[in-house]
């Protein structure tokens, strides 16, 4: 399968501030990809570039095999649900489906009507009078019924209550499974992504920290606890993601392909949340930044 997204040295500058720096990514198709990072890390910038809504300042990007945003044919292959799931407040639910049908050659009307019926949305209701959860579901329906190869969602559940959040994610997962849809969604909360994503990209302070399949990431990251020691003296092949020390004890989170033999360490597994937090709290490094990618 082709990659859903390939980026090389991608960067975006607003005035003098870089919202995204030197982003290199190669995400294979067929995944539900979680893009996680704190607010303001550059997630929206990356996704907007991928959707073709903004042009990068530097670098190259291909989404489902072509540069984003160029021609209608490519637009039809990529769905995008923008942040805050905007819909036309003055248009009814049925009119939104009409809009989708008229503006998308591959529109699946039956699927859209079916989804709206299952969600219990009244077709004659104005979108401005829907609840936040219903609005998000309507936006998701528009994204799905267009039958894209890749659906990009920017913080789709950020504004939703837990119940609406669960329903939304469930609907998204069903669609992804039924339509063999690749999904790329962002969130600032790992818990939103933990149960749904099988591929993870961590973005903090405008840079990609780590990207890879969740299983691989969990298998190659370990928490080491033992007597205090300088992290620089670890064997080659063990990269320290984060380190904390007390007077006597060191706790390190390391990434390594190899088994850990040193008997001084107590090795424990990491949860996905721990792993993400370790990367998010990684201190700002000096010198050129390494882009970490887990080999498949």
């Amino acid at each position: 399968m082709t990659a859903i997204m390939q980026a090389r040295g991608l960067g975006k500058r607003y005035g003098r501030r870089w919202a995204l720096t030197d982003c290199t990514l190669d995400i294979p198709a067929g995944h539900v990809v979680g893009l996680v990072g704190p607010n303001g890390a550059g997630k929206t910038t990356l996704l907007s570039i991928a959707a073709g809504h903004i042009a990068p300042t530097t670098g190259e990007i291909e989404v489902v095999g072509a540069r984003p945003g160029g021609d209608p044919g490519h637009l039809a292959r990529v769905g995008f649900v923008a942040q805050e799931t905007p819909v036309y407040a003055g248009l009814t639910v049925a009119e939104h489906l009409e809009l989708g049908a008229r503006l998308n050659p591959g529109w699946d009307g039956a699927l859209a009507r079916d989804r709206i019926a299952r969600l219990g949305l009244e077709p004659s209701r104005r979108a401005g009078r829907l609840s936040g959860g219903q609005r998000a579901q309507l936006a998701l329906t528009l994204g799905i019924a267009k039958r894209p190869e890749l659906l990009i969602l920017d913080e789709p559940v950020a504004a939703l209550d837990p119940l609406a959040r669960r329903d939304f994610m469930r609907g998204l997962m069903e669609a992804a499974a039924e339509q063999e849809l690749s999904v790329l969604l962002s969130s600032h909360l790992v818990s939103d992504l933990e149960r749904t994503c099988d591929y993870l990209v961590v973005l903090t302070a405008s840079r990609i920290r780590v990207a890879g399949e969740v299983e691989e990431l969990l298998a190659t990251h370990h928490r080491l606890t033992g007597p205090r020691r300088d992290p620089a003296r670890l064997p080659a092949g063990q990269h320290v993601v984060s380190a904390s020390h007390t007077d006597r004890q060191s706790t390190l989170i390391v990434r390594t392909e190899d088994p850990i033999h040193d008997p001084a360490w107590t090795v424990s597994a990491l949860s996905l949340e721990d792993l993400v937090l370790a990367y998010m709290s990684e201190p700002a490094e000096t010198g050129p930044r390494r882009v970490l990618e887990v080999q498949r």
Binding site: P72, L75, Y88, G100, N104, L142
Partner: protein, 337 residues
Amino acid sequence: MIWLTWRQFRVQAAAGSAALAALAAVLAVTGPGLADDYASGIAACGTDEACEMFARHFFDQHRTSFQAVLAVVLLLPALVGLFWGAPLITRELEAGTHRLAWSQSVTRTRWLAVKLGVTGLASMLVAGLASLAVTWWASPVDRAAGSEFPRMTPLLFDARGIVPIGYAAFAFVLGVTVGMLVRRTLPAMAVTVAVFTAVQIGMPLLVRPYLLPPTRTTVTVTAGNLDALMADGPGRPFQMRVEAPDPNAWILSNETVDRSGRTVKTVPLYPGTGPCARDKGPETCVAEIGRLGYRQRLVYHPSSRFWAFQWLETGLYGVLTAGLGGFCFWWIRRRLS
């Protein structure tokens, strides 16, 4: 895309159509009566002098409604820019719905092209119909106004013929452009009105007079062409104004020159004394002005150029509109997100 544009525009379109229909109804009800009154009055007046009296009286009688209708046509393009142009894109940007629209299988260039095309054509249609209706309604009043208010002169020129169509198209695209740059509806409306007003004031003052080279002529003052002889007070010299050979011309300058061709403000003749005393009659005064060598230099555009100017100015606004439109497309492709 046309469906969506129309669906979003239909409330504004309904408001615009209702206003236009109301104007048309008022004009349709009063227009035939107005035309009849004028036709019968002109047929019955007999002598030239009586006819002139009638025309003056007729114009005075209808001056208020004439000015009200004039104001409607002058304001219409600004309203179009304000309520149809400025919100066209800002409304989407403020609600974030542009990102929904751009996520469909339609390029943003086409999205903008359809929005500009549909709403822009509606703007031009409304302005054209309003101008047509008002030009028809006002034609007896325009004729009665004659040289007092020639249609070549600013204000009336702006509200007759085809220029309102050009103004509306320009105001609309100006509103859209400002909206794209400012990104907020209310400030965009304010800036649109300010810029459009400035352009509408600047046009007749700074640009229109030079669209065609004006006619220049120096005439001898006669009792027939003398328009006004004014003094600032007793004992102050007279200033002169004459009528152009074409009474409905748009006079750009009307100045007195002496024997050697130099421009002078006044002639050395005074009210109440000498040849121009009130009891002498205008012929004596005019003869004295001629004897002293004073003549009047006129720069004007004859009324026969009305349509040439209409086409030129509409074309000029067309070019401005196209330029702003091109900028909108460039901006939406390169800068807007």
